[in-house]
Symmetry: C2
Subunit: 345 residues, 2 copies
């Protein structure tokens, strides 16, 4: 059984035409009941399976979508992809994965690569916010046949839909929660503000302070990359201050963890002395041995599902009047031990 059987094989065996077989198989056209039954039986017998490649070429639809992420082995992105796959598979689509490692050139290259294999759409989280509108994107946009949907990290390009999370609200809620816990000197570990997501968390933090009559203190705002070591370093700086903060809101769970470790090592208590809230709801935040970490959940799987739905709408929409959707999901603050002073919260 080397070669796969085609409709021609079936046709030959039955003394029919491929056209007839095709129609019988598709139940569609008016084929006599007899031949239809005959074809169906023979197809089963000969182990026939439709070659979707041929179909794709003929129909112009590959039923493949490409997903581009910086890396797949991060809880956030793999959860988004899970959502995408679960939403799209039942509709007949397959999901092709591409990683960029945050390299701009790879980003463009993989977009083109996906277009070459005739994907019906591309869902992506851009790695670099600074990216000017260049070749790859322009080509995507110009040729309206291939819908593009951004998720989480988007670029403002007209005609391109996006699904993001309300980072401003996330930052705001986290900060407000800390204020409600009685904290007044609230530090913020923020990440590169050139990224919309980080900037919005920052702005939410500032606004919450403002709304509650707390003046922001720039010395409490420390740029910190998203890893444990950097979190520790920033915490050290904060603890060395004359009047250290009584809370830290970190735009990254990893930095939050680093801060937590540093603070505990200095003999301070969490949340009694210093409250901590992170961002992203990484799995480990709830897997702490003692002090689970409060964090902001972004519902990545849900984000994937919604992005998939937006894509489905766009491919389904035959009109030229494509409506651009910019969907913003609402994040949710998950309060855990690291920030819960009063149990009656």
């Amino acid at each position: 059984m080397k070669k796969k059987t085609t409709i021609y094989d079936i046709a030959a065996k039955l003394g029919l035409t491929a056209a007839t077989v095709s129609r019988a198989l598709n139940n569609n056209a008016k084929i006599s009941l007899n031949t239809r039954k005959l074809v169906l039986e023979t197809a089963l017998e000969m182990n026939y399976e439709q070659n979707k490649l041929a179909l794709a070429l003929k129909s112009g639809k590959s039923y493949n979508v490409g997903v581009i992420v910086p890396r797949i082995d991060s809880n956030f992105f793999s959860s988004v992809i899970r959502g995408i796959e679960e939403e799209l598979y039942p509709k007949g689509y397959h999901v092709i994965i591409c990683q960029t490692n945050n390299q701009e050139n790879l980003e463009i290259e993989k977009i083109n690569s996906l277009l070459n294999v005739q994907v019906d759409g591309i869902l992506m989280s851009i790695s670099n916010a600074n990216l000017e509108e260049d070749k790859g994107f322009n080509k995507l946009i110009r040729n309206k046949n291939t819908p593009l949907v951004f998720f989480d990290r988007k670029k403002d390009i007209k005609g391109v839909s996006s699904v993001t999370v309300d980072d401003f609200k996330g930052g705001y809620d986290a900060t407000k929660h800390l204020i409600d816990q009685g904290c007044r000197r609230i530090a913020h570990l923020f990440n590169d503000r050139k990224f919309e997501i980080f900037n919005n968390r920052f702005l939410g933090y500032r606004q919450a302070l403002l709304d509650n009559g707390i003046e922001f203190d720039e010395s409490l705002e420390i740029e910190t990359m998203s890893n444990v070591a950097e979190g520790r370093k920033s915490a050290k700086v904060l603890l060395d201050m004359d009047s250290p903060p009584d809370a830290i809101f970190s735009s990254s769970d990893f930095a939050a963890l680093g801060a937590l470790q540093e603070i505990k090592e200095c003999g301070l208590r969490i949340p009694e002395d210093i409250c901590i809230v992170g961002f992203s709801n990484e799995p480990f935040t709830k897997f702490m041995e003692l002090t689970t970490i409060s964090s902001v959940d972004q519902f990545p799987m849900e984000m994937g599902k919604v992005a998939a739905q937006v894509f489905l709408e766009e491919v389904g929409n035959t009109q030229d009047s494509k409506i651009t959707k910019n969907i913003v999901l609402t994040p949710e603050l998950i309060v855990r031990k690291s920030s819960l002073k009063c149990k009656e919260g």
Copy 2:
């Protein structure tokens, strides 16, 4: 710019034939330097991009591989997939993701689905070890055109290659390490032994005890599912014993964490009173605030790369004499605070 340009468009513009254009584009046949240059320039001008779908249909190679996992949003599987993608993309392949949620029927369905879209190979981690050799697998094997490679969780089918980790050694090393730390009553939280991987960890544990003159005690061997709550439950059982263990080797990091939490809450110290070693080296094991958890690293990304290499060999091998490879990777015990009594380890 609605429609994509094809070689026919180029040919028409140049008063040539598609055949000539194709050859010029492929540098291959003997096309005069003039026309070649002309074609190349025009192609660039018209923004031509090869339609890989047409190529795939013609050549019989889609340059797509399917990867089937129970779920993608687990650190282990997403790391494997990362490895696969990084290894395969440079060779011109794209990776299609499928999830089974551990449902057997979905497993078969997705195999067939992938075969229908003409993937050049399938890499998979089976969800259920009990699976009898049924339709989907048989079809794959019978039609030797599509290589199949198992990773991590395999099935013994002749003619099918696999890449796994030496779970026996992982279990052995973890246990031996605990013995070296002076532990003598070593408990084991194991998972469903119908799975080869869990059974091998179990056997490694037993063998290490045997080799070091420690008799195994069945009451210290508790079947425990891979989650925090179950880990706590089992730890409770162990702590309630007349002579509780002085160490726990868990076949799951999640169960290990549960045990750690339970033990700490009971006021016992780790590692002084009880040592703990987990399995899988989940990210959170090193992100503990105080007591980082020792664990066995399975090098999932490496596993993905190796599985991809095996696939590449199999597609590259035109001979009918396919050699089945069963590669076993060596895991590595990562010793952390939860099991390190003597600092001079």
